[in-house]
Amino acid sequence: MKTNLTYKLLMVTVLSGLVYGSCSKDLNDRSESYPALTPASIDLDAGTWKPVLLTAPGEFAVAAPVATTTPAYVAELNEIKGLQRNLSGNDKKIIKYWSAGAVLRWNEILRELVAKYNLPPYQNPDDTYPAPSAANPFAYPYFPFANPPYAARAYAYVSAAQYDALVATWHYKKLYNRAAPYKVDSLVQALVPKSDLPSYPSEDAAVAGAAIEMLKLLFPGEVAYIQQKADEHKRYRIMAGANVRSEIEAGEALGRLVAQKFSARGRADRAGQAIGNPDLWRKLETDTEAKGEVCWFSLESPKRPPMLPLFSKVKGFLCDSMDIINMRPAPPPSTSSQQFKEETEEVLYYSQHATRDRLRIVHFWADGAGTYTPAGHWDAIAADEFVKEGYSEVRWARNFALINMALMDAAIACWDAKYFYFNPRPSQSNSNIKTLTGVPNFPSYTSGHSTFSAAAATVLTHLLPDRGSKFNDMATEASMSRLYGAIHYRSDCTVGLENGKKVGERAVLRAQTDGAE
């Protein structure tokens, strides 16, 4: 008996050891494994690429740098050398983090802010809902509610501003042709991969400067956090021996000036009025009823006003308001039609016959409250691909600008269809339809996920043709996830994909003529 007991205790000990081993707390975060950016081409002529808003790459003047033989420059080299003598472990971590790329890291920061702010406001005691106020972002509900359309617009503004800032930066880089500090002085260590790209003005600082300005507008409650990130980013370039301080200052100033153009546009692009008002919300109902259709109502309790019904009026980057109306899809199946009945039955089937694999698909693509939204998901997909490509910073920015302008315009086009048709969700049509993810608080037709996904996949397929059908397959899966989740009819998904592709093609047209290909 004693041997038996010893044996069993030994078993428990071994088992405990195995379990403890499997309890490792290290998370395998992809963001931490991105390598230092090593561009395959420096894209020296990117100063000639077509900007989004700038009238010319030299629209904002950047003074010529001083000669690298001047005492002022030598003093700046000494700053680098001084920093490099005393690098702490944390400094090295900062260098490793930012060396993956400026555009990449700021896109990640933006995705994090979106996830942080993507929470629907909690109701008032009288069952109405408060609206966030840009004038007081720290009072609950915090400004903004970074829902899918708001987020798509935020990604587009930041990406497009960074792209224009870098086109201007590259213009001056080629013009002034200042070598990097580690090329001027062999005692300066290059703690990032060396590059032949001229270093004045700093591309990293231009990206950071553009981000600071844009995020002041988009996430006003995070100005302090953004500033802290930007300060760390700028210090990294100096510690790494990649820029002297005056290159950073020139780049940041240029980035800020360019982004102020985008901020001015953003203040007047009608997004601020997209929430509508009670009269408008009622009119949506009466207009739909006048057409003889069942109108959408909120499935939340207490009933929440529809999400951003006037987002369709926001000024797009690729499509103007006439384009949006011309692209508007044909009506959904009438709520009294046989097809509508059949499609509702199909949703009920998926509600009642969830498989584990369909649940995986539903939750992988859910991108609901507290996430970086579908647009952010496609940015994450793009980032993981771009990391493999060794793009220059300006090409990173250009490609993100193309994708995110397409995503923003996809939001506009989709919201136009949603509020023009004001179609009920499946669970409204049949209360037996229980959903495998949250029901979004806006009309059904067309599916936002489908529109976003097809737009992004169309642009990505153009940018990375060697990936074959990968992105379109992902878009189809994202689209079907909404039917599997029992929150969309099949028509919402298929028509959403078609419409998203049309928006994506606008971005492809731009890509073919912007001088980068």
Binding site: K116, P121, S301, Y372, L436, G438
Partner: protein, 272 residues
């Protein structure tokens, strides 16, 4: 073994609220349990639950499935006489539980479990004086990381991975009451704490690695038949959550039917 857990109010961080989009969340559990006495001091136990969730309001669909297999080893370290009639027993209990199926963890509050592998160490002291007893125990649970279906999530910062670090847990349990050959009637105080984790933000969904804490009080009863039905046992209990954080304010009722097959090694460890 059957239990029914239901809550209408829950704690979003420390803020207590209800949610008309959920109504009352009901979780039913049917389980098979077994206990085998290897020696008079060493027991091995298993527990296999089937769980089903359902909300009374809103559109979210409940989930169901086989949850985690629990395996326990309970060892009576020593019994000391204490006082004239009393005796004090010390126990060490180890439990390992792991999910048997690939159920969804990241769809709270409709998920049937959290999908981590758990290793729990519990130390327990039991003092019996005549028919009255008092039992106190403390535990520490190591929990493995879990994998969820999405490849990014926000807790207090963004994570670009499908892995979630599940903080470890610790807590205590205290019981006191009457215990005889036929009856056990006890009052229970149950406490669990997540050592880390984060609060649900206002109006956000819960997440598996939330800081889930709860203190519950309740009563348990057990009746053991004699004579012809000897070996048959019935249990019943009820618990109510008096304090919590990132959990529902649950009321749990449970009942069970047990059958002891090994009469010869019947021992004095009546506690579950």
């Amino acid at each position: 073994m059957y239990s029914h857990n239901s809550w209408k109010n829950y704690w979003e961080g420390t803020y207590k609220r209800d949610n008309e989009n959920l109504g009352t969340v009901n979780t039913q559990m049917m389980g098979i349990m077994g206990n085998y006495g290897i020696t008079s001091k060493l027991n091995v136990l298993f527990n296999l639950p089937y769980v089903q969730t359902k909300a009374t309001n809103g559109t979210l669909k409940g989930l169901k499935g086989v949850q985690d297999l629990g395996l326990s080893v309970k060892y009576k370290i020593h019994t000391f006489p204490l006082g004239k009639k009393g005796k004090l027993a010390a126990f060490a209990i180890g439990n390992f539980s792991f999910p048997l199926t690939n159920y969804v963890a990241d769809f709270l509050p409709m998920s049937i479990g959290l999908h981590s592998k758990n290793l729990t160490f519990r130390g327990m002291l039991d003092y019996q004086l005549s028919k009255f007893f008092i039992t106190a125990s403390g535990y520490y649970t190591l929990r493995s990381n879990i994998k969820i279906d999405r490849n990014s999530y926000y807790d207090t910062e963004m994570h670009l991975t499908n892995e979630v670090d599940m903080p470890n847990m610790a807590g205590f349990n205290a019981r006191a009451g009457y215990r005889s050959r036929t009856w056990i009637a006890e009052a229970v105080l149950d406490n669990m704490n997540t050592l880390g984790g984060f609060d649900i933000r206002k109006n956000d969904m819960p997440f598996p690695s939330n800081k889930m804490n709860a203190t519950m009080t309740g009563v348990n009863f057990k009746y053991s038949f004699a004579k012809a039905l000897r070996g048959l046992e019935l249990t019943a209990g009820a618990k109510y959550t008096v304090a919590g954080r990132n959990v529902g304010q649950a009321t749990i009722v449970n009942g069970g039917v047990f059958y002891l097959m090994d009469f010869s090694k019947k021992h004095a460890t009546y506690e579950n």
